[in-house]
């Protein structure tokens, strides 16, 4: 029997909507997928990769990623596991005033 495939929802905000050309997407992932797997799946263009990953292949510090309302830095960072029903929010950190 085929294993259950976790389905998650990704929501993009602010300039991330321009970068990814969408507001939100539901994605089916392989079991035991992580935020890193998700980001790799999402980033299909050079610009997308530039905006999400730094030169060392980590997620950029100025892009906020929340999993179910919690910053991934307080979880397992880019290695945070994803499960059925998770909601991921991705947005740039803005600081002007």
């Amino acid at each position: 029997m085929e294993a259950n495939v976790p389905k998650i929802k990704v929501r993009f905000f602010a300039s991330m909507r321009e970068v990814f050309q969408e507001k939100e997407r539901e994605i089916e992932l392989e079991r035991f997928s992580t935020i890193r797997d998700l980001l790799k799946l999402l980033c299909n263009t050079y610009e997308q990769r530039q905006r999400i990953f730094d030169q060392s292949g980590r997620n950029r510090a100025d892009i906020t990623i929340l999993k179910n309302g919690r910053h991934i830095q307080f979880l397992d960072g880019i290695e945070t596991r994803l499960e059925e029903g998770d909601e991921i929010a991705i947005f740039p950190m803005i600081y002007g005033g």
């Binding site: 909507r17 321009e18 100025d62 740039p92 950190m93 005033g97």
Partner: protein
Amino acid sequence: MLVEGEIKRYERQIRIFGEEGQKKLKKAKVFVAGAGGLGSPILIYLTVAGIGKIKIVDHDVVELSNLNRQVLHWYNDVGREKVVSTQKKLKKLNPNVEVEVISKTIDEGNIDELVGDFDMIVDAMDNFPTRYLLNKTALTKNIPFFHGAVHGFYGQATTIIPGKTGCLRCIFPKAPLPTTFPIVGATCGVIGCIQATEVIKYIVGVGSSLENRLLMWDGLNSTMDETIFERNLQCEDCSKWKRMFQR
């Protein structure tokens, strides 16, 4: 106690929250950090709403490049301290409001004294290191912190209540590198007005606020969205509150 002129001046909002609400506004003491892009709409609307006392801290001088967004400052103010320009305008807008201004850079050594016994802190800063100081001070003093930030056509706002919501560090654990930012003045208007609305509602005690919700304005597509956030157990700034609530 409201005097006759005040009842007439605030009549349209007294219809919403009554004279009792107006008295609460008159009793309130609001600390606003920054008198620039966000500070301008925040201060204008808090002043006309009849806040009793407003303290404003900003260390900058008005520059020509500020004038596309910092609507409290006009062409003739270029070269003047922002707090001086601000006080002059606010006094003309509403002489009933006590406006105290301080031309200083907020830092770790003076923030506690600057905020003093004020009831709440409004974020109109342009950098995260100072925002973290404001966040921490609000947590220490157990007073609400009204966050706002802008960039280009985008803006965000949330209301932080110590012990009840996540704090600024829970959503943004690390400051981005500081650079100058592009900005359309109207974006400051949108976000500053949302912050002023949050402050007024909190004081009067009406509606529901942006607690554990980060509201995000996308002016490019004219959409307003929000994402929820939670208190983070490992947050270095509000862990004190977590310990208290876990007891």
